[in-house]
Symmetry: C2
Subunit: 314 residues, 2 copies
C-alpha cells in the first residue's frame, strides 16, 4: 500500500525535532524539493500560504494545515469547497496574550508617553495613570488568545466581559455578550482587547459608535487583525477624544507603512506586528509542532482541530 | 479623662470618609490648623514628612505614621529613639506592582522601542522580543509590592526566585535566596524586579557584578528606590551591554532631572516616579485609609503594623 504524503512548507531554520514525529505516520516531502509525483500524491499540506499553483500541483489534497492562527490572508475564492482548511489557533496564544498585556499596560501606565519625555530630560508629571485592579475590561474574541488575556486580566483583579459568537463557561469571564452585541460588551468599559479573527462577521465591527461606547479615557488594544476596526472611524474618534488610547500590533494594509497615519497619532501606541514574539526561535518551533500534532491526529483517524468554517470567509 | 490627640497632616483634597472612623477613637487635629495646645498633647502624627520643628512642637508624640511605603526620606538622626515610626507599606502595592509589570513588559516586548519607530513611519522589525512564560524572574524585596509582583509573575507562567532578609513561604516563590546572596538570586535570570526599601543594607546593593550575574539580554525593573543600584556601575554596565534593559520608575537625586544621563541611555526605559498611580484619586484615599487603620489599631490597644526598625537606617 502506498504511504500517504504530507508536504511540509516550513522554513529551513525549523529544527527537525519540531516535525520528526510525522515520519512515523506518513511520507514527508518538503515543498520546493518535492517531486511532481510526490506533489500529485500529496494528501496534506502544511504551509503559511496557499496559491492557485499549489492547488494545481497538488490535485489530491484533502487537508491544508495553515501555520498561522489567522486564515484571512488566504484567497478563499480559489479554494475548493471540499478541501479542509485548518487554522493553527492556539499555537502562539501565550506570546500574543503577553503582548496584548504589554500594550494594555503601556497605555494604562503611560509608559511610552513618559519614557519619551524622560528621554528628553523632562521629568514633569502631567497625566494620571490607571489602576487595572478593579477596572472593567472587555475581551472581544474568546479563542485561545482571548481566553488567555481574560485569565491574565482576572489575575490582575479586573472584571472581565467576554464577547464571542458562542458562550464560553470559563471561570474568568464575569459576563458574556454574544455576537453581534459588541456595544453591550464595550458599554462603559475602561479597557478592551480585540483578539478577533478577520472574517465577514468581524470586518469593520468596531466603528465610531463602538469606540464611543467605552469610557472617554478608555484603552483599546488590538492583537487580532486591523480590519476588525474601521480605519476612518478610528481616526475620527481618536482625533476627537485625545484621552482615549488605541494600542495596536496589527494594521490594515499588507504594507504596514501605508498605515503610518494611524501610528503617528499622539494617542496611538504601535508595534509592527510582532505580538507572536517576532524572531523568538521558540515561537516558530511551537507553531510547527502545534500544526504537525493536528496533522498526526488526522492521519491516525482521530479527527482535526481548528477546521475553518469557509462560510465565515466566502 | 482627656481624649488622646491624633494630628493629621493630609492634603485638603482627601475626602473625610478616608479618616472619619478616627473621630470615634481620638480627638483629631489638622496640621496647620491645630492649636499649640493640641500639638503639645498630640500622641500620634499621620504625615508624609517629619521635621525637627514638628518634633519640637509635638514633644509628647509616641507614634508617627508615615503615609508613604518608604521611609528613607526621613532625617533619622533627628528622630528620638523612643519614638515609634510606622511605614505605610502595602498601601499602594497593587498599582506599584502593576507598574513594575508595565515596565517589565515594555522592555520584554520592546514596546517603547518599536512605538518610537512606528511613530516615525518605520515599521521594520530588527529586534526579537521575549516570552515571559517559562522565563526566570528574580523578585528582590518581598514586602507587599514584591509579593504582588511574584504573584503576577507566577500567573504569567514564570519561574520566580525571591530575595529578602527573611524567607517567605508563599506558594508563588519557587526558590528563596536570603540576604546578602543577591548574586545567587540574579544568577542567570532573564528578568528581575527590584522592590526593596532604601536603607543601610540595600544602598548600592546592585553593582556591576550583580548586573553581570543576569543574562546579557536581561531586563531589570526598579520600582523601589534608585539608590539600591550603584549609578556609575549601572551606566558602565548598560554601555557595555546594549542588549540589557534597565526599566525604572525611581532615581537617585531628589531632583530627578539630575539623573537624565541615565534616562537618555538607549537601553533605559524611564517613567518619572509615577508607579503609585500618580494623580489617581483612589491612591491617596487608599493611602490615608491604610495609614489611619493602623493608627486606630494602636488606639484600640491592638498594636501596630509596619513598625520601622530604626537600626536599618541609623
Amino acid at each position: 500500500m502506498e504511504r500517504r504524503v504530507v508536504v511540509l512548507n516550513v522554513g529551513d531554520f525549523i529544527p527537525e525535532e519540531a516535525y520528526a514525529e510525522l515520519f512515523n505516520h506518513a511520507e514527508v516531502a518538503f515543498y520546493g524539493r518535492a517531486s511532481p509525483e510526490e506533489l500529485r500524491r500529496a494528501e496534506v499540506l502544511v504551509t503559511f500560504r496557499l496559491t492557485r499553483e499549489d492547488l494545481q500541483m497538488m490535485p489530491n489534497l484533502k487537508v491544508v494545515q495553515i501555520l498561522s492562527a489567522g486564515v484571512d490572508h488566504l484567497d478563499w475564492s480559489s479554494i475548493p469547497e471540499d478541501l479542509i482548511v485548518c487554522s493553527n489557533a492556539g499555537s502562539n496564544a501565550i506570546p500574543v496574550a503577553e503582548h496584548a498585556l504589554a500594550l494594555l499596560l503601556a497605555a494604562a501606565k503611560r509608559v511610552t508617553y513618559y519614557d519619551a519625555r524622560c528621554r528628553s530630560g523632562d521629568f514633569t508629571r502631567d497625566r494620571t495613570t490607571k489602576i487595572l485592579h478593579g477596572s472593567e475590561i472587555a475581551v472581544l474574541g474568546l479563542g485561545p488568545i482571548g481566553m488567555r488575556v481574560a485569565e491574565l486580566a482576572k489575575a490582575l483583579g479586573m472584571r472581565v466581559r467576554g464577547f464571542a459568537r458562542r458562550p464560553r463557561g470559563e471561570p474568568f469571564i464575569d459576563e458574556f455578550f454574544a455576537y453581534p452585541d459588541v456595544r453591550g460588551a464595550l458599554n462603559g468599559a475602561d479597557l478592551a482587547v480585540l483578539a478577533l479573527p478577520l472574517n465577514k462577521h468581524t470586518k469593520g465591527l468596531i466603528g465610531y459608535g463602538e469606540l464611543g461606547a467605552m469610557k472617554r479615557d478608555g484603552v483599546m488594544v488590538n492583537v487580532g487583525r486591523g480590519g476588525v476596526v474601521s480605519k476612518p472611524d478610528l481616526i475620527r474618534f481618536l482625533r476627537e477624544n485625545p484621552e482615549f488610547t488605541y494600542a495596536t500590533d496589527v494594521f490594515w494594509s499588507p504594507e504596514i507603512a501605508q498605515d503610518s497615519d494611524v501610528a503617528a497619532l499622539p494617542n496611538v501606541i504601535a508595534t509592527p506586528w510582532i505580538a507572536g514574539a517576532f524572531g523568538h526561535p521558540r515561537v516558530y518551533v511551537d507553531m510547527v509542532r502545534h500544526a504537525v500534532s493536528n496533522v498526526i491526529g488526522y492521519l491516525r483517524g482521530e479527527g482535526l482541530r481548528n477546521v475553518v468554517d469557509r462560510s465565515d470567509y466566502v
